[in-house]
Amino acid sequence: MKCNRYSLLQFTCGELDVEEMERITAHLEQCTECSAELRLIARLRANREELCRALAEKPAGSKSFHLLPGVFRKGWTPLVRENPYPWIAAASILVTVGTLLFFLIHTPTVQDLAALATAGLPPYEPMILRQGGSPGSPLFLSAMESYRKSDLIAARSKLEQLLQDNPKDAEALFYLGVIHYHGGEYSKAEYMIRDGLSSCTYGVKEKYHWFLAQIALKRQQKEKARQELNRVTEFQGRYAAEAQQILSRLP
């Protein structure tokens, strides 16, 4: 068996089935490299309190400064000193920044895309049966009560609590995604809403696609937004007209 570090990681988290564990254990008995990695992880875990304390005291190093030797001497560390080509790295950063600036200046539609995303907080529509969750879960109802009052912080913490018991609760994932979206955390929002969409086997999925389109617009992902908006129009539902309008304005 070849080294499979992904399986080794799952092994260390105790998330493999027994057959796979058997294979990894047999491999560990022969492979010194993987065995050393396992021992390193065990060592880190065994000293987690000490490590966490030290990491909290130690400010994170900013590598971009260390790339210019002698200029920002204060932050010089052994890890970065191993870099044999600091000037090449610095030059490549300058080129990347320059290229980005060029595209920002010469792409007039970038600002327009984000401006097209205008979704507000969708109203909570109680259903008799919620997919993936208990119909009258008091915690969900309480979360939605906070959501209706625009107390998004309370709603968020209740929804997170709910997801600990049922990670595949589509409705909870959706509303948590919406809250993240309004907090400007687009990657988290996308992840949640996609997760909710894949768990949702009941009801209309229009709202999921609508918010995925909004996230794509905010993130300047034109093609992705177009794709999601097209899906929304297919439903011929509440958001169809607005989606059509945005599609016609997309550059």
């Binding site: 260390t12 105790g14 008995e29 990695e37 966490c52 990491l55 400010p59 190093g61 560390t77």
Partner: protein
């Protein structure tokens, strides 16, 4: 129904696997057996209705891995604070005691040096790799990869890649320094 339902089957059919897994962590036969015993004790104390043997096996293996890590720490502590030489079964002479102490001192120094270097190296990692390592390996209460992925707002595969990249960097640097 509690963990008793599948306990016997888990013990008889998979005992050798559990032993080998525990041994990978502690490299000591006695400790490996203690780990299995402690894991069974924890497993049997859980009041839960297991859907299947697979379910029970998965849960037991998670307990085993975490117990192994706890024992790893315990074994290191025992090395630092051994029994007085008079109570030790082997080597009562002053010379062997001095030699043993010297070895323990060296081991302790090396362990501290590895930890110090690991802290410095992890602190230097990019934020996302550091976050993945801290959440995955240094959390007080271990959580599943799915939960951690959701916390960080990334897919599980991204979480794994970040943690592995970080660990790889730490491992390589420790090896370069001759500490691993």
């Amino acid at each position: 129904m509690s963990g008793h339902r599948f306990a016997e089957q888990l013990f008889t059919e998979y005992q050798s696997l559990w032993y080998r897994i525990a041994y990978q962590y502690v490299h000591n036969a006695q400790d490996s057996q203690d780990i299995i015993q402690e894991s069974y004790r924890k497993f049997l104390s859980i009041e839960r209705d297991w859907d299947s043997l697979e379910d029970a096996k998965r849960y037991f293996s998670t307990i085993l891995v975490h117990t192994s890590v706890d024992f790893y720490k315990l074994s290191k502590k025992r090395q630092e604070n051994p029994l007085p030489s008079g109570e030790s079964p082997a080597g009562n002479s002053a010379e062997s005691t001095a030699w043993r102490r010297q070895c323990q001192k060296q081991e302790k120094e090396q362990e501290e040096s590895i930890l110090d270097s690991a802290i410095a190296l992890i602190a230097q990692l990019p934020e996302e790799q550091k976050a993945a390592i801290v959440r995955l390996y240094l959390a007080d209460q271990p959580r599943s990869l799915t939960e951690l992925g959701r916390d960080l707002g990334v897919p599980i595969s991204t979480l794994k890649s970040r943690a592995l990249l970080g660990i790889e960097k730490v491992k390589k640097s420790l090896r370069k320094k001759g500490l691993l």
